[in-house]
């Protein structure tokens, strides 16, 4: 997948992810597939258990199906899945 600002408009369900910045100890070493998404949270299947991660607090490392790895700040991903589709972000890098 091409790394452009448009990446935040794509679907994140069923993508392998790892939580990088941990605001609290319970977020440490959480990784797995995203199975659900709400406005403010991702639900990650970590070792067979569902973990709810607040988007605003964490930094996520996504591994897309073609092997591309991208690290995205969760602040940019806040928003309902259908509203994220129309989000435009100025190029930050």
């Amino acid at each position: 997948m091409k790394i452009t600002p448009d990446i935040i408009r794509h679907e994140f369900i069923n993508i392998e992810t790892k939580v990088c910045r941990k605001p609290q100890a319970s977020y440490a070493k959480i990784s797995g597939k995203i199975i659900d998404e709400t406005r403010n949270t991702f639900v990650i299947l970590h070792k067979g258990k569902k973990k709810t991660i607040i988007k605003d607090l964490a930094i996520f490392q996504f591994k897309f199906s073609d092997g591309t790895i991208a690290e995205i700040d969760g602040k940019l991903l806040v928003g309902r899945p259908e509203d994220r589709l129309k989000r435009h972000v100025r190029r930050l890098w």
């Binding site: 408009r9 679907e11 309902r80 899945p81 589709l85 129309k86």
Partner: protein, 107 residues
């Protein structure tokens, strides 16, 4: 709505329906959630759901239906050949008229 948004929306809808179909037998409520999201995305981007996906949603109760699991599909010859899809959740029926391509062009 620009073409780029519509393209991304179409991709997302495709993905969500594929996942819903894969997960349906293990977790029907999660599959339903995926399909609801897909519908919301289509409405937000102002695109029509593809025909194959439109027939996987009950047009009355909007639930995700799979033939053999929670829907029944029958072909009928009365009046005009048509397909009847019965949702086993709400019990309502949807009819799709079968016409040949040439006949459709004439109309």
């Amino acid at each position: 709505m620009d073409a780029d948004t519509k393209r991304i929306a179409a991709q997302r809808i495709q993905t969500l329906f594929r996942l819903a179909k894969e997960i349906f037998h293990e977790n029907p409520s999660l599959a339903q959630h995926y399909v609801d999201t897909a519908r919301k995305i289509a409405m937000a981007a102002k695109i029509r759901l593809p025909t194959e996906h439109r027939h996987q949603i009950c047009s009355h109760c909007k639930s995700f239906i799979l033939p053999g699991a929670n829907s029944r599909i029958r072909i009928k010859q009365q009046r005009e050949p048509h397909v009847v899809i019965t949702c086993l959740k709400c019990g309502k029926q949807t009819r799709i008229v079968l016409r040949k391509k040439e006949e459709k062009q004439k109309l």
